[in-house]
């Protein structure tokens, strides 16, 4: 068990590209932290720096109380689950799981006991003497997990571990990993580009973009109070509606639309207005939503169309009668998020 502290950690590649800008972050003991962002946002680099697979250009990294900048990956007391599992194809499941223990000089009896324990926990008992190539994707995923938990490390690192699985298995493994982590209580850092994984699994989420931290917070905070238009559009499916508007004579007004509400202070100029599709109220209010497509999703429906001349999506539950064409909608004041039109930062 350990906390992890990043103090102005920065990564610059030899070519001069800055993959991670100075980042300060503390991962609490026992916490499940998810690093999420689009590809190239620096999330994997950050994880690999924590693992010791990538040098830290500047800053300080502590696992527990120990500064580990120059510690070999094998000595950081970590375990890692890779995207393609990185199982040793020529070793049996048993040897795959036990390999790390063997290298640490554990006795044969101890290895056997721990491998057995891990296998029982992951339902791998019947497959211990097979080779990874004889097993399914989900089972391989479990072997990779087994290899991580058998060492009982201070820190688990996950690098997009579910992205090679099909949708159904992904959902199942999501729950398994989270339940396992709860049970073991091991501090975990999990990298993904899938915002659903981030939302469902995390205690806290770190949203990264272009090597910078956009926001750190619980899934609820990230969802309901996005710190920037980037976070607002990256988290949530469908994403938050982002509309252009203006401060005008003490009110906020959509471009080509009616006033929304009174503006705080004496501001003026352009602004970005965000609203989650499920916060829209259909059949009332003074905005006109021109629906061109209704997407049927069973439990709910998505209505796509335009508000004024801007793309807009609304989310309605299944009992609500819907139709295509022009209809009135209301955008409740309380649900509106206001962002600076230039910087995208929340106001």
């Amino acid at each position: 068990m350990a906390s992890v502290t990043l103090d102005a950690v920065r990564k610059v590649y030899p070519g001069g590209t800055e993959a991670v800008t100075p980042t300060t972050l503390t991962i609490r003991d026992g916490e499940f932290l998810v690093l999420v962002g689009p590809s190239g946002c620096g999330k994997s680099t950050l994880l690999r720096m924590i693992a010791g697979l990538e040098d830290i250009t500047e800053g300080e990294l502590r696992i527990g109380d120990r500064i580990v900048n120059d510690v070999d990956p094998a000595d950081r007391d970590i375990a890692m689950v890779f995207q393609n599992y990185a199982l040793y194809p020529h070793m049996t499941v048993r040897r795959n799981i036990g390999y790390g223990l063997r290298n640490r000089g554990a006795s044969a009896g101890e290895i056997a006991r721990k491998v057995d324990e891990a296998a029982a926990m992951l339902n791998l008992r019947d497959y211990l003497d097979r080779k990874p190539s004889q097993l399914s994707g989900g089972q391989r995923q479990r072997i990779a997990m087994g290899r991580a938990i058998v060492r009982d490390p201070a820190l688990f690192l996950f690098d997009e571990p579910l992205s090679n699985l099909d949708a159904k298995l992904r959902g199942q493994m999501r729950i398994e990993i989270r339940a396992l982590q709860r049970r073991l209580g091991t501090t975990s850092i999990y990298v993904t580009h899938d915002q659903v994984e981030a939302m469902t699994m995390a205690d806290r989420i770190v949203v990264l973009n272009g090597g910078r931290v956009e926001q750190v917070g619980t899934p609820a905070e990230i969802y309901h109070a996005p710190a920037s238009t980037f976070v607002a559009s990256f988290m949530g499916a469908p994403p938050m509606n982002l509309l252009t508007g203006r401060f005008e004579s003490g009110a906020i007004r959509l471009d080509h639309g009616p006033a929304l509400r009174a503006a705080p202070g004496g501001r003026s100029g352009p602004i970005t207005i965000g609203i989650r599709p499920e916060d829209v109220r259909l059949g009332e209010g003074d905005h006109v939503f021109d629906v061109d497509l209704v997407e049927e999703l069973g439990a709910h429906r998505l209505l796509h169309g335009r508000l004024g001349d801007q793309h807009f999506t609304a989310h309605v539950l299944k009992d609500m009668p819907v139709r295509e064409g022009r209809q009135p909608i209301a955008l409740p004041d309380a649900a509106l998020a206001l962002f600076d039109a230039q910087s995208g930062q929340r106001l």
């Binding site: 693992a51 010791g52 697979l53 070999d72 990956p73 094998a74 970590i78 375990a79 890692m80 890779f82 995207q83 393609n84 599992y85 990185a86 199982l87 040793y88 194809p89 020529h90 070793m91 390999y99 790390g100 290298n103 640490r104 290899r147």
Partner: protein, 301 residues
Amino acid sequence: MADMTHDTLAAAGPARPARRRLRLSTIGDHAILIAGALLMVAPLLMLVQMSTVPDAEIMRTGPSLAIGDRLWPNVRAALTESMSFSGRNTGLAMFRNSMILGLGFAVGKIVVAMMAAYAIVYFRLRFATLAFWAIFTTLLLPLEVRIVPSYEITQRLGLLNTWTGLIVPLIASATATFFFRQFFMSVPEELVEAARIDGAGPVKFFVDILVPLSRTMIAAMFIIMFVYGWNQYLWPTMIVTEDDRITLVQGIKQITQGLEGGQIPEYGRSNILAILAVLPPVLVVLFFQRWFVKGLTETDK
């Protein structure tokens, strides 16, 4: 309904001769392949046939379809009798020498190549690019174009008539290194990362993971290198002058010179030696056909 029947008939009409033509062309294909196979195999069968009949009969008729009973006496003579007066280059001795050359070359080349490729692919080396080019330039020029100076250097080092002098200079080309480099590059990145986290250092990673992973590649490489080493002719001819180091392939020359002698040429015995010279590499190639083909077509690309 009527139209449909009509269509079916119309379609069946031209289809029938087409099928027959197909069958004819298949027979043609097989004929060509059988002719090709005969072309490749017949010379070897001829050698075998000649070694079953008395030499005097060969002097009269040459190769024929007759199978005689001289095979075993010829085999015994080939294996145990010497080609020259020294008495040290019997078939068995030459066979042993060929084995040493083939195995020594294959093992030496693979070991040296794997080590070098490992260093190039898996380590941060300051002069990596230089080493890479220095090694891979050797792919450009075969031993034959620098044969005379190579001989002089080997002579100056006092390595004439030694196994070292015979084998090591042949290793000075990077074909296998290049091949192993290609293979190591294709091994997933995460494997070495997982191994590092699992506490494996460079030696352990190499022995526990990389070498077992390369098994098939090593096998393929071994077959090709063994055949290459066994079949060497020019270099051994220059380096080895003493009878007790002569290989079978080198011995072919002595065999042909023997056939020129005054008495009845010993075709039976000579042919057995020639067969002995091709048998091990041929068996290796046939036995490990899949690995061999894979190795050949992937290395040379």
